[in-house]
Symmetry: C2
Subunit: 356 residues, 2 copies
C-alpha cells in the first residue's frame, strides 16, 4: 500500500501556536513530534516511509522538507490550494507510477489516533476491497452530537460483518453534510450514523477514472500535468495549469456521486481531529499533573487546576490561583483564554490577518 | 523645605514586572512616568527639584540616575541597606548643609496620592511645627481593617484643630504595630486610629539630635561619616562605616521613643501604598475599558471582564472569556494569576531568587 498524507490545513484553531506559516500539523501538540511526523510513524507498521507521500501548500514546503529531512518520504507541493479533489488527483498521477492498482490510504496530517495497532489492522482490512475497485472510508462511532463533522449513514440492510473485535464493514448508504444540533442528536441516537473521519482508501486507477467520469474539467487539467510529469518543463506546466483546476472536495466531487462499491469501516480506535485547545486538553488528560494541569515549557504552578499551558517562547511562566485556562505563549503573541471557549480563538487569527 | 525621597524598596509584590533590579518605584504602573518621578512631581508645588534628594541602594543607582538625568535632584547612594534610621541619618548629614533648621519631608518613592493639591497643603501645614522642633507625621483615615499597616493612635484629649477642610492636627498618643484582624476591626470602629503613611516632617537638626539621644551607636558612625563628607576619602569612609551601622527603623528607633512634641496630620488625600496588583487595579478602576479591563500594552479583548493586563514585552496579548485575572508579560517572565490572590505573587519572586 501507499499513503498520501494531506498536510494542507491552514490552522487557525490553535492560534497563536498555529499561524499561517505554521499550522497545527507542524506543531508538537500531541506528543514530542509534530502531528505530521506522528501521522507517518503511526502507519509505519503497514506502510513504510518510502511509500508515503505528503502533499503541502507552497508556503509550507520549507518546514515540511525540514521536518522530513533524511527520510525517504516524498513531498508533493501544490502551487496553490485547489481543495482535495485536485490535490488527490495530482498525487494519484505520481502514485500511479508506483502501482496503478496498489491501494492508497489518504489521510489528514493533523488527526490523533490513540490505538495505532487497531488503526493499522483497519488499513490492512481496507486494502482488499480497495484493490478490487471499491472506495473504502473509515467511520467513527459518534460519542456526542457533534455539529462540526460530516456524517456517513451506513446501509443497515447490507452489513458485511465483523472484521475484528468491534470493527465492522458496512456498505455506505449516503454521506451527510454537517447537521444542526437537532439532527446531530437524532444521528447519535439512531446508531446508523458515523462521523466521517476524512480517511479514504482507493487505488490511483480507480480515483483517476472516477475523476474522468464526474469531474471532466479536472481530469483534462490533470492529463495536461500528467503528460509533462517526466519532462523538464513539469514545474512550469504544473504552476500554469494547477491554478485553473476546479476547486472541489473529493467528498462532494466524487465520493458522494460514485456508483462504485462504497464501504465504510466502523471502528473505535481513539480518533480525534484535535479541533481545539480544549479537545487537545481532553485528549492528554492522562498526562496532567495532580491538579489536572497540562504543562509544556517551564511553568511554576501555585494553587491552580485544570489549565493548559503551552509555552514555546522559552520564558518562565507562572500561574497562581487560576482554573480552566488555556495559556499559549509564543515569541510574538500571548493568549489567555477560557479553555471552554477555545473554539473561538480563531477570532484572533482573523484579527491578525486583518492587521496584516 | 527639603524633601527626602526614600527609594530603597526591593519590590516583590509586583513580580514579574518588579524584580530585584527594578522594583516598583521605578515602574510606570500608576501613570506614564515611574512612581519615583510621580512622587517628585507631586511635591513640586511645595518643594522644587533642586531641594529634593533621593536615597537609593547601590544596585539601583544606575536606573535612578538615568531616570533623573537632566534634573537637579540629588542622588544619595547607600552602600548597603541598613534600614530607615541609618538612611535618614545619612541624608540628614547632607541636608543639614542646606539648612539645619529647614524642615525635611521624608516620604517613600512608591506611594500613590490622588489629591496632590491637598497633599501639598498638608506639607505646608507641617512645616511650621517642624520648624519649631516637632516631629510631624501624616495619618490616613482607615477605610478597611488592614492588618498590613502600622497605626497611629491620636490623643483625643489634645485635638489641635482643623487645618483646612477635613484635615486636622492631633497630638500623637502612640504608635501601634501591625495589628491582627480583631484589633484592626476594633481600630477601624474606634475612630482614634489612623494608618501610618510612613511620611514624616522634621528638621535635620532635630532628627540628628534625636539619633544622638536614642541611638548613640548610630550617631557615632554618622559622626565619622560626617567628618569625611568634604574630604576626598568620603566614599571610602562611607563604604567602610555604613555597613557597621545598626539596622533599625526610624519608627522603632526614634519616633516611638521621642519626648519631643509629636503631631499627626489626619487627612484624606486619596493615599495608597499600592501594595499589590489588586490595589493597583482598584486605584485605576476609572481608567478601565467598558468591561472593566485595565490594559497596558497591545491587547485584543474578546468577552473578558475586570482583568489587569500589563505587557512590557511589546508582544501582542489576546484574552478571551476570562475575568478577574492579572496578566503580566515581560521579556523573560509571564504571570497569569487570580487578581484577588495578588498578594501571593511574591512566592514567585522567592522561587526566582532561590533558582538564582
Amino acid at each position: 500500500m501507499n499513503a498520501l498524507v494531506m498536510a494542507g490545513g491552514s490552522g487557525t484553531r490553535f492560534w497563536p501556536a498555529s499561524r499561517e506559516s505554521l499550522p497545527k500539523q507542524f506543531l508538537c501538540i500531541t506528543g514530542n513530534r509534530s502531528m505530521l511526523e506522528e501521522t507517518i510513524a503511526r502507519i509505519g507498521p503497514t506502510i513504510p516511509e518510502s511509500r508515503v507521500a505528503v502533499v503541502v501548500g507552497k508556503i509550507h514546503e520549507g518546514v515540511t522538507r525540514q521536518i522530513l529531512d533524511g527520510t525517504p518520504v516524498r513531498v508533493l507541493v501544490e502551487p496553490t490550494g485547489r481543495n482535495t479533489a485536485a490535490c488527490i488527483g495530482l498525487a494519484a498521477l505520481h502514485l500511479r507510477r508506483q502501482g496503478a492498482g496498489e491501494p492508497v490510504v489518504v489521510l489528514p496530517a493533523d488527526h490523533f489516533i490513540a490505538r495505532s495497532d487497531l488503526f493499522n489492522e483497519i488499513l490492512a482490512s481496507a486494502a482488499g476491497p480497495a484493490r478490487e475497485g471499491a472506495i473504502v472510508t473509515i467511520g467513527i462511532e459518534p460519542t456526542r452530537p457533534e455539529t462540526g463533522y460530516g456524517y456517513i449513514r451506513v446501509d443497515s440492510r447490507a452489513d458485511l460483518g465483523r472484521l475484528s473485535g468491534s470493527t465492522f464493514l458496512h456498505r455506505v448508504d449516503s454521506f451527510v453534510e454537517k447537521p444542526d444540533l437537532e439532527r446531530a442528536i437524532q444521528y447519535l441516537g439512531s446508531g446508523e450514523y458515523l462521523w466521517n473521519s476524512g480517511i479514504f482508501v482507493f487505488t490511483p486507477e480507480v480515483i483517476l477514472s472516477e475523476i474522468s467520469t464526474h469531474l471532466p474539467v479536472l481530469a483534462e487539467g490533470l492529463a495536461e500535468i500528467d503528460e509533462a510529469i517526466d519532462r523538464p518543463d513539469y514545474q512550469e506546466v504544473l504552476e500554469r495549469v494547477y491554478g485553473t483546476l476546479p476547486a472541489i472536495s473529493i467528498d462532494h466531487g466524487i465520493i458522494e456521486k460514485t456508483s462504485l462499491p462504497l464501504y465504510v469501516i466502523r471502528a473505535d480506535f481513539g480518533w480525534s481531529d484535535v479541533g481545539s485547545w480544549q479537545a487537545l486538553y481532553e485528549l492528554r488528560e492522562g498526562e496532567t499533573d495532580e491538579q489536572g494541569n497540562l504543562l509544556q515549557g517551564a511553568v511554576w504552578v501555585e494553587d491552580s487546576r485544570r489549565n493548559l499551558v503551552y509555552s514555546k517562547s522559552g520564558r518562565q511562566v507562572a500561574i497562581l490561583g487560576v482554573e480552566g485556562l488555556v495559556i499559549v505563549d509564543t515569541e510574538d503573541m500571548l493568549m489567555v483564554a477560557d479553555l471552554t471557549r477555545s473554539q473561538d480563538v480563531k477570532r484572533f487569527a482573523l484579527r491578525e490577518r486583518q492587521r496584516e
